[in-house]
């Protein structure tokens, strides 16, 4: 499928375009969730679609569990439901339906049913989101066979992935969208076309170290790589994208070449993406590692509210650059200057609540 895109696009525009396309594509598509028809329209990604597609953009009560079940029932009966959660945290009310039902409905009945549906979960961050509005729960779902879990990091990834989910894939897809990316603009032509829309993406070629990243950490990794390149460190960056089906070959080819691995994810390390990537390397060929793997993620605590705590809770550009440089140079005084601006952290400063 070819997608023609404007040269620059925000993440939000990518989502809004994907939503409109999914609705226009087929009369079977519905968008359902709390706030999908209001003037905020899921941060501007479903705005006015209820006018354009009457009866197929459906406001709901606060009933995450039953609404998810309704989507499963719709899916096995010919609809393509797109269900929104403005915070992934609220998706925890829907895990029985997602894990016990959606993920198993095909297998449990020996293939008698298909459950094509998309669940959009937004990861909150910054402006005091606190413990219950900030969780990045991809690994809970990626552990479960039957669920496809993606974390698009660009508008292009959104468009290709959602188009593929809606038109071709016949199973449940859970997508984690990062709230802090909604307002960011992206060049759309920088990505080579992908053969598998659910596949991992080689974002940058390099020879000194492999950074495997997810979601907004792909942006941090790219910025870190740009800075490090000026100081003689050449990073390869892989956007894992589909966290439930990482591209083992892409990861192993890269780590075999570089011998060094950093995993940068949006959640906690234990039982997270870092762990999963380490499993892939350890199972495939740990001998390619010339140094211990470095993992970056949230601190091992619920998310605190105060800005000063949040600043140390999430890994930032400083930390990423410092960690990569230390790993590549093999010493703490690696000689790479740390930029004064904090990159994403700078951006977060401009990101003013409330949501």
């Amino acid at each position: 499928m070819t997608i023609s895109l404007p040269p620059r696009m925000t993440y939000r525009d990518g989502l809004a375009t994907a939503m409109r396309r999914a609705m226009a594509e087929s009369d079977n598509t519905i968008i359902i969730g709390q706030g999908v028809t209001d003037h905020k329209g899921i941060f501007g990604t479903t705005s006015d679609l209820h006018k354009e597609f009457p009866g197929r953009v459906i406001e709901t009560p606060l009933s995450e569990d039953a609404v998810t079940g309704l989507c499963v029932g719709g899916a096995i009966n010919g609809l393509y439901p797109i269900n929104t959660h403005i915070r992934a945290d609220f998706g925890l009310l829907a895990v029985n339906q997602l894990i016990n039902m959606a993920a198993k409905y095909k297998y449990m009945f020996g293939g008698l049913f298909q459950v094509p549906m998309l669940v959009r979960m937004v990861i909150g961050r910054s402006w005091g989101q606190g413990a219950q509005h900030s969780q990045s729960l991809q690994s809970l779902f990626a552990h479960i066979p039957g669920l496809t879990v993606v974390m698009p990091s660009t508008p292009e990834a959104i468009l290709r992935t959602y188009d593929h989910a809606v038109r071709t894939h016949k199973g449940p897809v859970v997508s984690f969208e990062h709230r802090l990316m909604y307002d960011l603009s992206f060049d759309t032509d920088q990505h080579p076309p992908v053969t598998d829309p659910f596949g991992s993406r080689l974002e940058r070629r390099g020879k000194d170290v492999t950074i495997v990243a997810t979601s907004i950490m792909v942006l941090e990794a790219r910025r870190a790589a740009a800075h490090l390149a000026q100081h003689g460190i050449d990073c390869e960056v892989i956007d894992l994208h589909c966290v439930s089906r990482p591209d083992r070959k892409m990861i192993m080819d890269s780590v075999t070449k570089t011998g060094k691995l950093v995993v940068a994810d949006t959640s906690w390390l234990p039982y997270g993406v870092s762990a999963e990537v380490c499993r892939i390397v350890a199972e495939s060929d740990p001998g390619v590692l010339k140094a211990p793997v470095v993992n970056l993620g949230m601190a091992l605590a619920p998310c605190p509210t105060a800005k000063s705590l949040e600043d140390v809770y999430y890994p930032d550009l400083h930390l990423t650059i410092d960690a990569v440089a230390k790993l590549v140079r093999g010493k703490a005084d690696h000689g790479v200057p740390i930029p004064t601006h904090k990159s994403m952290t700078d951006f977060y400063k401009h990101f003013r609540g409330p949501f």
């Binding site: 009560p61 096995i76 293939g111």
Partner: protein
């Protein structure tokens, strides 16, 4: 069909279900059926009566206690038996077992072993039909215990709010495993349901397939006309233990007399003449189903990873 023909046909269907489950009991000690079985014995009339009023395009969403509804809605018997045996020729190739019966070609849209979890799924089926302009009601069968789950509240609200033709059918056998209603519920099921603006109907005579058929026909006719949900409660009685092939009166959580009083009204127990008349043909059919199951291949490594995504 005369009243008598109708009685005889529904009786036959109910008896068929009972005989199939009695065959399961007979087979169970052989370990050929290695699956937890939740028998419907005592409750067959509900499935038979309700399904009499349903059309092929109507869907039923059922539970782990699903043999009766699967058969009453027209699910094929040999494939059911093969599924209990865990064979490749089972309706789901052995992946489902007793707890997860389905036969979408006749509108059996799946059974869950997580109590209450098909209720909202059925509401979604009703919504799909409305959006896709397809005919057909969604009927979801669940036990009294399922009404205690939060999802029941959410689902009633969604169905009423959106005006969807979902029939919430509660088979009230007064028990959730071994716990009585009084230990679990502060509400009366239908009074509670009416507070969502949903019309309700109750049938006390859960052994009476004719009455259940009649009432269901009235209810579903009304639903086809107004497109609204309904809640129907049928009082019924589980004769066997919660799960497994045996009886458990000795455990003391309910009295045997109570169950025997129910049996006295159950045509399948009372009308021994008709049982004798119908049994041979049914037994033959069941034996064929067992033979079909026993002839089935075992699924294996090739099947293990199919149909996951």
């Amino acid at each position: 069909m005369s009243r008598n023909d109708r009685y005889q046909e529904l009786f036959r269907q109910a008896l068929r279900i009972r005989l199939v489950e009695e065959k399961v009991i007979e087979l169970y000690p052989s370990d050929k059926i290695q699956s937890p079985v939740h028998l419907s014995i005592g409750q067959e009339a509900v499935a038979v009566g309700v399904c009499e009023a349903l059309r092929p395009e109507d869907a039923v969403y059922i539970t782990y206690r699903g043999h009766a509804f699967y058969m009453a809605k027209g699910g094929p018997l040999p494939e059911l038996m093969a599924e209990l045996y865990g064979r490749r020729n089972g309706v789901s190739g052995g992946k489902a077992g007793s707890m997860h019966l389905a036969a979408p070609q006749v509108g059996v849209m799946g059974a869950s072993a997580v109590v209450g979890s098909t209720i909202s799924v059925a509401v979604g089926g009703a919504m799909a039909n409305r959006i896709l302009k397809k005919p057909g009601l969604s009927v979801v069968c669940f036990g009294d215990g399922a009404t205690e789950q939060g999802t029941y509240h959410e689902s009633l609200n969604l169905a009423s709010l959106y005006g969807l033709p979902a029939l919430f059918l509660c088979e009230n056998n007064g028990l959730a495993v071994h716990a009585s209603l009084a230990e679990r519920q502060s509400y009366r099921i239908l009074e509670h349901a009416r507070s969502y603006g949903i019309e309700t109907v109750r049938i006390d005579e859960g052994w009476d397939f004719l009455k259940i058929g009649d009432v269901t026909r009235q209810v579903t006719d009304a639903m086809r006309a107004d497109g609204r949900p309904r809640v129907m409660e049928v009082m019924t009685c589980r004769y066997k233990e919660h799960v497994g092939p045996g009886e458990d009166f000795a455990a003391g959580y309910r009295s045997q007399a109570e169950v025997e009083a129910w049996m006295a009204k159950d045509p399948l127990c009372a009308d021994t003449a008709l049982v004798a008349e119908l049994k041979p043909a049914l037994d033959a059919e069941i034996d064929q189903a067992v033979a079909f199951a026993e002839a089935g291949e075992l699924p294996g490594l090739d099947d293990l990873l199919t149909d996951v995504y």
